[in-house]
């Protein structure tokens, strides 16, 4: 059934919604605002978020609440487009729940490591009943052992059971993230039950995205933790894209961030960043811009619903991240010239 139908109406609907995305002018207008409330008012009056914010008093809105609302809007849009032709029951479209579950487990682990207790305020409660575990109960977990017990009946237990805790009861978050993201990608790949060409296109996009995620993570490990090539390699997602294992090794072995960038600039991705005028010295931002560009390309070229849904939601999440960056910038009095480079578009 899934393979036979094109779901063109879903693709058309996505393109219609995509047409209302925020423009550079919108971002500039928001950056020029003096307060979170003014920025929220701009969103409410001038953008496709007007319906979301229609019942919100922008004069009193709290930044955290606005951010939660924006995150929820991504999920609401996802439900709206997958419900349009009732495709949400296909296994592939469970990826959003899977992604959120992993994000929540990782957030929980980070909170446990940091000893913080405010996990509950940002829990995506709108997903209650849809996830394979209770989100409120997850927020009640107090240490990693308890987390494993909590996850016992979910597939995540097998994924995380090998993770060791140190004497403080803390765990290696990067290791957890690699394990969980690897599990996610495997699950995603096994659910690609659509046309051969679409699968090929999707896998190519996914592998490119993984390459770039690996580049971002390995750069962070090199620049901020001085990790060695071997240490980096074990924390990378084990899926090859356009970067050959030898090339990856060569980059990971760089002994400084400058050397890392130098070696990376000779790769296909590095050349693309330069050609597109991205600032390769700001590698993390440039890699994210490239990810955004590939998703945009897939959305524009694809006539297939799963590819369109995946790339569109990806772009929408980046849009929300951009807004949150601006709101945080305004909240902490950062100059707009310093916020602007953080915007991905």
């Amino acid at each position: 059934m899934f393979k036979r139908r094109n779901y063109n109406a879903t693709v058309a609907k996505i393109m219609a919604i995509y047409g209302k995305r925020l423009t550079q002018q919108d971002y500039l207008e928001m950056m020029s605002k003096q307060s979170v409330q003014e920025a929220a008012e701009y969103l409410k009056k001038n953008t496709h978020y007007s319906e979301l914010l229609s019942s919100i008093d922008t004069n009193t809105i709290h930044r955290g609440m606005l951010e939660n609302l924006l995150r929820r809007s991504v999920y609401d849009t996802y439900v709206r487009i997958t419900g349009f032709e009732h495709i949400s029951k296909e296994e592939f479209y469970n990826y959003k729940i899977l992604q959120t579950e992993i994000d929540e487990i990782l957030r929980c682990i980070r909170f446990l490591n940091a000893g913080s207790e405010k996990l509950i305020s940002d829990v995506p409660i709108y997903l209650k009943g849809l996830t394979s575990f209770d989100l409120i109960d997850l927020a009640r977990v107090t240490d990693f052992k308890e987390l494993l017990v909590f996850l016992k009946k979910t597939p995540y237990y097998d994924v995380l059971k090998s993770v060791k805790t140190n004497e403080d009861g803390k765990v290696d978050v990067t290791e957890c993230e690699t394990l969980l993201r690897t599990y996610y990608i495997k699950r995603l790949k096994s659910s690609l039950d659509f046309k051969k060409n679409d699968v090929k296109q999707f896998v190519s996009f996914l592998e490119t995205d993984i390459d770039l995620i690996n580049v971002i993570n390995s750069y962070r490990l090199t620049a901020f933790f001085g990790a060695t090539g071997d240490e980096i390699e074990k924390d990378m997602l084990p899926f090859g894209g356009r970067l050959s294992p030898a090339k990856q090794k060569e980059i990971y072995d760089a002994d400084s961030s400058e050397e890392f960038i130098k070696r990376f600039s000779k790769t296909n991705y590095g050349r693309q960043m330069i050609e597109n005028g991205y600032d390769i010295n700001n590698l993390e931002q440039s890699a994210n811009q490239l990810r955004y560009k590939y998703a945009k390309l897939m959305l524009k070229r694809s006539q297939s619903a799963p590819l369109s849904v995946y790339s569109f939601i990806f772009l929408l999440e980046i849009e929300v991240k951009n807004i949150i960056s601006i709101i945080e910038g305004i909240r902490y009095g950062v100059e707009s010239s310093k916020i602007a480079p953080l915007i991905i578009m």
Partner: protein
């Protein structure tokens, strides 16, 4: 229909008379001023006055009052205030502003109170159903009560805090919020308040003035809101009444100041040396006597008239002279750009061709008359610039409709009339003569193109632009080439063999070579030596492609006129559809379909034909002889706009 002849006027006089001269210049309404410094040159000793305009600050103040109140202050007769000093006027304006500010402040204060009361009312309205006195709730010693709203998402998270000592209950729901209150023991209030804060609970602080339970408080607040609104209304009324009283004087002062302000601004157009000034500009030749007479009473001022093109640094401005029929079409010409001073005024040609082409395409007696009447009404009541054009093209459409025998889409109504008159060749049934219509469109197009090329030849020779007028694609060479091909082809169609070797060589190949060599040939005609830039290869390549483009242009431009025939047919076809539809509906609905159908066709077809004709004018006609690089004649005058730079 020509271009108004201009005179270059040089005015010199003593600096003490400068302001009086400038007043006369702006009053006369026919003087186009130029910068005298441009003519005098830097080395002549002349300087330009650079002064701050003393009238600007006061004007800005009136402008602010105008913007604030949304009123325009203007008076044609300001002689009453002409003698008053600037200081006196400034004091008056300041007092007016002070008084107005008082009213505005009162309104603002009332507005702020209204905002507080409305906010409290909004909150209290959400607590309806709560029958306990607010004062009693807030005076509890051991239990703290917090009123407000909790986001829907956060409401779902309350179960996380099951073990905490609080109780939340809500009175009403909105899309994103639960309105309600939570109770907490005073000893734990700090911790629970923090929890609710982290859940984005927005606390409502009920003002002290709110008494009783929610219903009583709501009633009281509604009363306060009404009182506030009345207060605001009263303040606005007082503001407007005061302004009504002062509007006349403010208008006179504004006009007087604006007149002085704009005249003062003209001072920097004058050049000054020692105690003398020099002004230069243009006047229409027809206004010369009236203009000269203006300065009869100023002995120290001397005027010298010169031909318009006497000074190479100054390009004469363009004022088009049109007759009543063509006048409205000058809008199209100005849209494209004005002609040069020695060029020709194409308005008449545009008026005739536009009216003719529109009429042919839109031909319908009834619709044409309606369009003409609509145009006249739009002009009379709205001064809509397209109105007079619509009237003319509407009449043209009606005339052609008469020839086509079409009235509101009814194609047979006029048949008996023509029969009775014994005219057998009319009406000209459009749908039965498709080929004739299309061929006729091309013939008309070719005729218009020939006329355009002839205009270009005449103006080119007049202005000594030989390259264009003799050897260009829109010159004699192009005309001979294009004409010969058309004549030859048509003759062949009628079985006359004209295209022999001599005909082809002399009338087709030779003009083609002339177009190819147009640049060196034009130098030769002028008696100058031609230097080939970029070498022979470059010359051949660039001219080959240009001539190729010319040839392509002849073909596409000619075919472009087929659209005239196309729109004749499309108009008739659309009306056929309307008629067919009207026959399919009931007898009662049929007139409605005919009326709506006619309105739709008139609207859509009128718009399309209007645009297409303009396109033909600009692309197929203007491009052959018109450059549109002239500057408009703009006589100096006082601009009574409230926006002060």
């Amino acid at each position: 229909m020509s271009i108004e002849k201009m005179e270059l006027v040089n005015i010199a006089g003593l600096t003490k008379d400068l302001d009086a001269v400038l007043v006369k210049l702006s009053d006369c309404g026919c003087f186009h001023i130029e910068s005298a410094a441009k003519v005098a040159g830097k080395k002549s000793g002349f300087t330009v006055l650079k002064e701050d305009n003393p009238f600007t600050p006061l004007l800005k103040q009136i402008s602010e009052i105008s913007n604030q109140s949304g009123r325009k202050f203007r008076s044609d007769d300001f002689s009453d205030v002409e003698g008053e000093s600037l200081a006196g006027l400034g004091e008056y304006i300041l007092n007016v502003r002070k008084k107005l500010d008082e009213f505005k402040t009162a309104e603002k204060l009332a507005d702020e109170k209204l905002s507080v009361h409305e906010q409290a009312m909004y909150q209290v309205d959400h607590l309806k159903g709560m029958t306990v006195d607010f004062q009693q709730i807030f005076s509890c010693e051991n239990i703290k009560v917090r009123l407000g709203r909790l986001p829907v998402d956060s409401y779902g998270k309350l179960e996380y805090y099951d073990d905490k000592p609080f109780y939340f209950t809500h009175f009403s729901e909105e899309k994103e919020y639960y309105w309600g209150m939570y109770f907490v023991p005073a000893s734990c209030s700090e911790e629970v308040d923090e929890i609710f804060e982290s859940l984005y609970f927005e606390r409502t602080h009920i003002p002290d003035f709110v008494k009783g339970d929610s219903s009583e408080a709501s009633a009281e607040l509604h009363k306060m809101v009404e009182e506030d609104k009345k207060l605001i209304e009263d303040s606005r009324k007082q503001y407007n009444e005061y302004l009504d009283k002062e509007a006349d004087r403010l208008g006179k002062i504004f006009s007087r100041l604006k007149s002085s302000h704009d005249n003062f601004d003209l001072r920097n157009k004058a050049a000054i040396v020692n105690d003398k000034f020099y002004i230069v500009g243009f006047i229409p030749k027809s206004e010369t006597d009236r203009f000269m007479a203006l300065f009869d009473d100023m002995e120290s001022v001397s005027l010298v008239l010169q031909p318009a093109d006497a000074n190479g640094k100054l390009e004469p401005p363009i004022k088009l002279k049109n007759n009543k029929f063509s006048q409205p079409f000058s809008m199209f010409v100005e849209m494209y750009g004005l002609p040069s001073y020695n060029g020709i005024n194409p308005t008449g040609f545009v008026a005739v061709t536009y009216t003719l082409l529109f009429g042919i395409m839109f031909g319908d007696l009834g619709q044409g008359i309606v369009l003409a009447i609509a145009g006249a009404l739009l002009w009379k009541f709205k001064k809509f610039a397209l109105g007079p054009i619509l009237t003319r093209v509407g009449i043209s459409g009606a005339v052609f409709g008469l020839l086509y025998g079409s009235i509101f889409g009814y194609e047979e109504l006029l048949d008996p009339v023509y029969e009775a008159l014994g005219i057998t060749f009319l009406p000209f049934k459009v749908m039965k003569n498709v080929t004739t219509i299309l061929i006729g469109a091309i013939v008309l197009g070719v005729l218009i193109m020939f006329i355009s090329i002839l205009i270009n030849i005449v103006t080119g020779i007049k202005n000594k632009k030989f390259e264009e007028s003799l050897f260009g694609n829109n010159g004699i060479a192009g005309l001979v080439f294009f004409g010969s091909i058309l004549v030859g082809a048509v003759a062949e169609l009628f079985g006359v063999h004209l295209m022999n070797a001599v005909y082809v060589i002399v009338l087709i190949i030779l003009p083609l070579i002339a177009m190819f060599m147009r640049e060196p040939l034009s130098y030769w005609v002028k008696g100058k030596k031609y230097h080939m830039e970029g070498g022979i290869g470059d010359f051949i390549a660039s001219n080959f492609f240009e001539v190729f483009e010319f040839l392509l242009g002849y073909a596409t431009n000619t075919l472009s006129f087929i659209r005239i025939g196309g729109f004749v047919l499309s108009h008739a076809s659309m009306m056929l559809v309307v008629m067919a539809l009207s026959e399919q509906v009931s007898a009662a609905a049929s007139p409605i379909v005919v009326i709506l159908g006619n309105a739709f066709v008139m609207g859509i077809e009128g718009l399309l034909v209007g645009i297409q004709t303009l396109r033909l004018e600009f692309y197929e006609i203007f491009s052959r002889f018109y450059s549109g690089d002239g500057k408009p004649f703009e006589p100096v005058k006082i601009n009574y706009d409230e926006n002060i730079e």
